[in-house]
Every structure is written in C-alpha cells, then in structure tokens.
C-alpha cells in the first residue's frame, strides 16, 4: 500500500516541480527547485506535527504514539535546519559540504522511517485534510526528490 502511494505521489511531485516558474515566465533554476522541495519538506513536517498535537491524546492517536512521532519530527526539523543553513550559502558553496549534506540526508531518511514506524494509520490530519499516512509518506518522497535534485546538481554524489 505504501509503495503504491509512493508511486502515485511521485508523479505529482514531478508535476509540481515542472510547474514552478518565476513571474517573468522563466522556470526556477534547478537549485531553486531543490530549495522549494526543502521548503515544502519543512512545511509538510510542520503540518504533520501541528496535526498530531491537535488530535492527541485520543483513542486513535494515544500519547505514546504521538510522543514517538513528534520526537522523530523534532529530529527532522533539527536536521533540516542544519541542511538549510548549508544550502543557504548557494550551490557552489553547498557543493563543498557534500559529505556533510549526505550525512544529514541519511539522518533525515532514518527520522522519516521512525515516523512511519510510529504506526499512525488511517487517521485524518486536520491540518492537511489527508490521512497522516499520506503526509508521512510525502515526507519520505520529498527527501528522495531532494536527494535526486542535489545529485543532479552535483552538490552530492
């Protein structure tokens, strides 16, 4: 089911990526596109967290599960701040921190897996109006998309 959802979400991400344009009609640069994916990752993670805090504690999202997923989300946010601080320096400077970026992306992937393992299934996120499953899978897809984009830019290898 998760794999099927991922397959369905990825084309949507690609479509969004293709739609990103500047006011002058030019498409965003590949590096700007990577930054948009990173921004959406941060926003999505925040929406999940705010949604969890709204619906827990409850029978559907008990305290222990909420604490587990929020702890993983806090780690995602911490890692993303480190990543964003590097990306803020621009493409050329970011490429000199390739090893650091790869390590942070590995951390993000592990944290996203922790979010999935928290096992909040079939509950609607009042923030996004989607199931938490879909939002959490979106985080994983965004990390994968960001990795691909940074590889394309040769910021990481």
């Amino acid at each position: 089911m998760k794999r099927k959802l991922l397959y369905l979400l990825l084309p949507a991400l690609v479509m969004i990526g293709c739609a990103i344009k500047k006011p002058n009609g030019q498409p965003a640069s590949p590096y700007e596109r990577a930054l948009v994916y990173n921004d959406v990752l941060a926003q999505t993670n925040k929406n999940i967290g705010e949604g969890i805090m709204l619906v827990s504690p409850s029978p559907t999202v008990p305290l222990a599960k909420a604490r587990a997923i929020l702890a993983a989300q806090k780690k995602v946010a911490q890692a993303d701040i480190m990543l964003t601080t590097i990306l803020k320096q621009g493409q050329v400077a970011a490429a000199t921190h390739s090893a650091d970026i790869s390590a942070i992306l590995d951390e993000l992937r592990a944290d996203a897996t922790e979010m999935v393992d928290a096992g909040i299934v079939g509950v609607k996120n009042p923030q996004s109006q989607q199931l938490f499953d879909a939002d959490i899978n979106a985080v994983g897809s965004l990390i994968a998309t960001l990795v691909d984009q940074l590889k394309l830019l040769e910021v990481i290898h």
């Binding site: 640069s29 590096y31 990173n38 929020l70 989300q73 964003t84 601080t85 109006q129």
Partner: protein, 76 residues
C-alpha cells in the same frame, strides 16, 4: 477503466488534494511563483521560510512534550 486511466485519475486526485488542502504545499508553491527573478533573493526567501517552519515546529513540540509528560503507569 484500464490501469493507466486509474493511475492518471489517482494522481490527479492526489494533486488536487495537495493543492486544495495542504497549506504547506500551497504556500511553498505560491512563494515560488511570487519570487523575484533574482536568484540570491530567492535563496534567502526559500531557506528563511524553511528554517522558520522548522524552528516553529521545534518550539511547539517542546511545549507540547512538557504539557504531555510520558508518565509511567503506576502498578497498584
């Protein structure tokens, strides 16, 4: 309906949901559309926006954790 039609329909639905209801997605995309052509400015806006979201979440999670401590079950 064949498989291709089902997949295209599902992708369209997901995209519509994301665009219509996902405040994070839509805000980020709106910002990308509204950015000036100056790449330096775009980098500042996009990274600043991401860090703000991360910091806000961390502060909210911290406050929530304090308000909802993980109290171990007391055995009678």
């Amino acid at each position: 309906m064949n498989n291709t039609a089902v997949i295209i329909g599902a992708v369209g639905q997901i995209l519509a949901v994301i665009l219509a209801n996902g405040p994070g997605w839509i805000e980020a995309i709106k910002k990308a559309f509204a950015l000036s052509p100056d790449t330096g400015e775009n980098i500042t806006v996009l990274t600043g926006d991401a860090i703000t979201a991360d910091e806000e979440l961390m502060a909210k999670v911290q406050a929530w954790m304090l308000a909802h401590p993980d109290v171990p079950t007391v055995q009678p």
